[in-house]
């Protein structure tokens, strides 16, 4: 047997402070009421740092700092110069990418292989991409402003953006929010998730290192209450949220009746559809990548596998064989494929829904794997014999759990794929080009991956239909969320 010896990435590249304040107006400050919470390493339950918890007064302070920076510095600044700051940030991220990747894996639990090879390159690329837009906004193709009536009006920033991001891709979601906002001329107050604040705080240091004017980027840490205070603040012109559909609904209600522009990137229950003429080895890779990438903590995860009945057995057999190769364990080991579940709460939810799946009669299977004793872990799992009526086929599990269903015809596949309130992504595996295009036309999802899955790029718009949210992030489309167009 070829046993891979441990190959741990060194922790020493990153220095974690014992406590972090709020990043407001260019400096780290203590919260008004002194509340704190702890961020832990989900792979070991070790406390990584104490984090300030922002109360309403802190949020107000941050919003005011952002407003002032918008009015006095960032709004008036030529796009050419905003671009240079963003390019500078992109460069620093590249220079410090190993440090950021290790910190991300420590705080989030994702394998270093992913934070190093996926998250960090995409973060830097995102800042590079939007940096280039900062001085080209009139060319972004938004045409005339609807109420202006005269042509050639430059699109204007909205002002001050409140941004709330999730824990699954902490730094990447920060990049998706901050880069287009700043490029368009807005200033931001961003709240990272309470379980993964550390890379956002290191990003704050990068803003300092880049000499970004104070107040352009503010980071307030905290949990749901902090987020609520932020999105409900009267001084906010724009709210951008990525997270659960449940919270998205609450935010949509909270901004009702205001002039705040809102974009939401929410949950999903994507169908990954495998036809009998699929390139089967690549399809199996796509299935695995679709649901086990980032422990399945992915809103666009291919969590419903639809296999054409004529190839059900061989595809399932290949999938199981492939799953047996997945290495679950220490996120910092360079050979780890599946890291730790981000939090005890998330682990509970995954366990609960998995138990529901078994109780509802679906057949559960996981490859043999030994899970570490400390920390939050869940073995890669598939459920077969699942029907559309099962809860595990309808609800977002947000973990390494795949529901396997079957279909007979392309029309049935489309019908099943669309039979969900979500509409974020979908996958199609077939060698037949016309079928791909036929399917892609009919799938109600914002991103359709054909013969691939879970691919992301700063130039490519991302976002959902229906209850998966509205607005797009990435590409020219992503600017729209931050411009008065």
């Amino acid at each position: 047997m070829f046993e891979y010896a441990p190959a741990p990435e060194s922790r020493s590249v990153v220095e974690i402070r014992s406590s972090y304040g709020l990043f407001i107006n260019g400096e780290f400050v203590d919260p008004g009421d002194g509340g704190t919470f702890k961020s832990i390493n989900p792979a070991s339950e070790e406390v990584l740092a104490e984090i300030a918890e922002a109360g309403p007064a802190d949020v107000d302070r941050a919003v005011r700092a952002a407003r002032t920076a918008y009015e006095q510095v960032w709004g008036p600044m030529p796009g050419r110069d905003r671009a240079k700051y963003l390019y500078r940030i992109a460069r620093i991220i590249q220079e410090r990418s190993r440090e950021l990747a290790v910190l991300e894996s420590l705080d989030n639990g994702k394998p270093i292989k992913e934070s190093r090879d996926v998250d960090l390159p995409l973060v830097a690329a995102h800042f590079f991409y939007y940096a280039g837009w900062a001085d080209k906004l009139p060319y972004a193709g938004f045409g005339q402003r609807p109420t202006s009536g005269h042509s050639g009006a430059d699109p204007r920033p909205l002002g001050m953006a409140a941004q709330v991001i999730p824990w699954n891709f902490p730094l990447l979601m920060l990049a998706w929010k901050i880069a287009p906002a700043l490029a368009a001329g807005n200033t931001v107050v961003l709240k990272p998730a309470e379980t993964t604040p550390l890379t956002a705080l290191l990003f704050a240091e990068i803003c300092q290192q880049a000499d970004l004017p104070p107040g352009v980027v503010n980071i307030v840490t905290g949990a749901g209450e902090t987020g609520r205070a932020l999105v409900e603040h009267d001084g906010v012109d724009k709210v951008a949220f990525t997270g659960s559909t449940e919270v998205g609904r609450a935010i949509a209600r909270a901004v009702a009746g205001t002039r705040k522009k809102l974009t939401l990137e929410l949950g999903g229950k994507a169908a990954n559809i495998v036809f009998d003429d699929a390139p089967v080895d690549q399809a199996v890779e796509g299935i695995v990548n679709g649901i086990f990438f980032n422990q399945g903590h992915v809103c666009c995860a291919g969590s419903r596998l639809l296999i054409q009945e004529s190839v059900y057995e061989p595809v399932l057999a290949s999938l199981k064989r492939r799953m047996a190769q997945l290495r679950v364990g220490d996120p910092l080991d360079k050979n780890t494929d599946i890291g730790a579940i981000n939090s005890a709460a998330q682990l509970d939810r995954i366990r609960e829904l998995s138990e529901v799946g078994a109780a509802e009669g679906a057949e559960r299977w996981s490859p043999e794997c030994t899970l570490p004793e400390r920390g939050f872990w869940f073995a890669p799992t598939i459920f077969t014999g699942v029907t559309q009526a099962h809860r595990i086929a309808r609800e977002e599990i947000f973990g390494p759990v795949l529901s396997v269903l079957t279909f007979r015809t392309p029309a049935e596949a489309v019908e099943k794929a669309n039979n969900t309130p979500y509409g974020l992504s979908a996958g199609i595996w077939t060698e037949k080009g016309s079928r791909i295009l036929w399917m892609a036309d009919r799938l109600r999802a914002g991103v359709v991956w054909a013969n691939t899955f879970n691919k992301f790029d700063p130039t490519s718009p991302f976002g959902g239909y229906k209850e998966s949210g509205y607005g797009r992030e990435g590409g020219r489309h992503g600017l729209e969320a931050y411009l008065n167009v």
Partner: protein
């Protein structure tokens, strides 16, 4: 010889290409005319008709949709007198006709202007294209009975959405007459469904209806109602067009915002390999 007795028109709802009375049997009086007073069940039926029309209308070619919208302009041109007789100013009728023509031309250009290739950093074909969001519920503006109505309906349907539009409560006659134009314009039944009645009564049912994808509140002037409708829409995360912040000049260039607000962007990836 006695003077000829005129035949009066019954103003009914327009649902699924037919002109039914309100299922409630109710009507209300506008300018000495009885107008159907739509109920929540009429709204429900209108959503069913609109949903049923989505597949055919969104699946029609853009060229076909453009021709049909242009046909609406042709039909409207031929019925100018009906609208002026209802008190719609002649220049508003002109503008309404021109607006149909303007939007008709957008049908096969939207995807080119708002979609396109994305140069991703990898061996992938990557294309974004706009698609209709589905069923759109609209509260039409009251300040412009014909042009305002056309200005909210045409941008919604040109891309393939279907609509349930609630005509301005106090100015429904031009709206119903427009429905008669639509009914003779090759527009498939159910693409536009028009209700007359009270926004405060009907709009909440549309705002909370789980089979409605977007909500256009342009005609809602009561801020509290607008807020509660937006809150209801949040239940299924509908796309919401809020009421305008101030008076709207309906004769001005409308821009593309009303169309794009009711579009989804779909991005398709495929590897490039031999």
């Amino acid at each position: 010889m006695s003077e000829r007795v005129a035949v009066r028109k019954t103003y009914k709802l327009f649902i699924g290409g037919k002109f039914p009375r309100s299922e409630s049997g109710r009507s209300y009086l506008v300018e000495q005319t009885n107008v159907a007073l739509a109920s929540r069940k009429d709204a429900r039926d209108a959503v069913v008709a609109a949903r049923a029309a989505v597949k055919g209308w969104s699946g029609a070619t853009a060229y076909n949709r453009g021709q049909i919208l242009y046909r609406v302009a042709e039909m409207l041109e031929g019925r100018r007198d009906q609208f002026t007789a209802l008190g719609v100013p002649a220049d508003e009728v002109d503008a309404a006709i021109d607006r149909w023509v303007w939007y008709a031309g957008w049908s096969d250009k939207l995807a080119q202007v708002y979609g396109g290739a994305n140069p991703v950093a990898g061996p992938y074909f990557n294309l974004s294209a706009p698609e209709p969001t589905g069923v759109v519920a609209v509260v039409a503006p009251a300040d412009s009975a014909l042009l305002g109505l056309v200005s909210v309906v045409a941008p919604a349907i040109v891309s393939g959405n279907t609509v349930v539009v609630l005509a301005a409560e106090e100015r429904p006659l031009a709206a119903i007459t427009l429905a008669e134009v639509l009914a003779t314009s090759d527009l498939p039944g159910g693409v536009v469904n028009l209700l007359t009645g009270r926004a405060a009564e009907v709009a909440p049912w549309l705002a909370s209806h789980a089979d409605v994808n977007a909500l256009d509140l342009t005609g809602v002037t009561d801020a509290d109602l607008a807020k509660s409708l937006e809150e209801a829409a949040a239940g299924t995360l509908k796309r919401v067009l809020r009421p305008p912040a101030g008076p709207v000049d309906w004769t001005a260039d409308p821009g593309t915002g009303r169309m794009t607000a009711l579009l989804e962007t779909k991005t398709v990836w495929h590897p490039k390999g031999s």
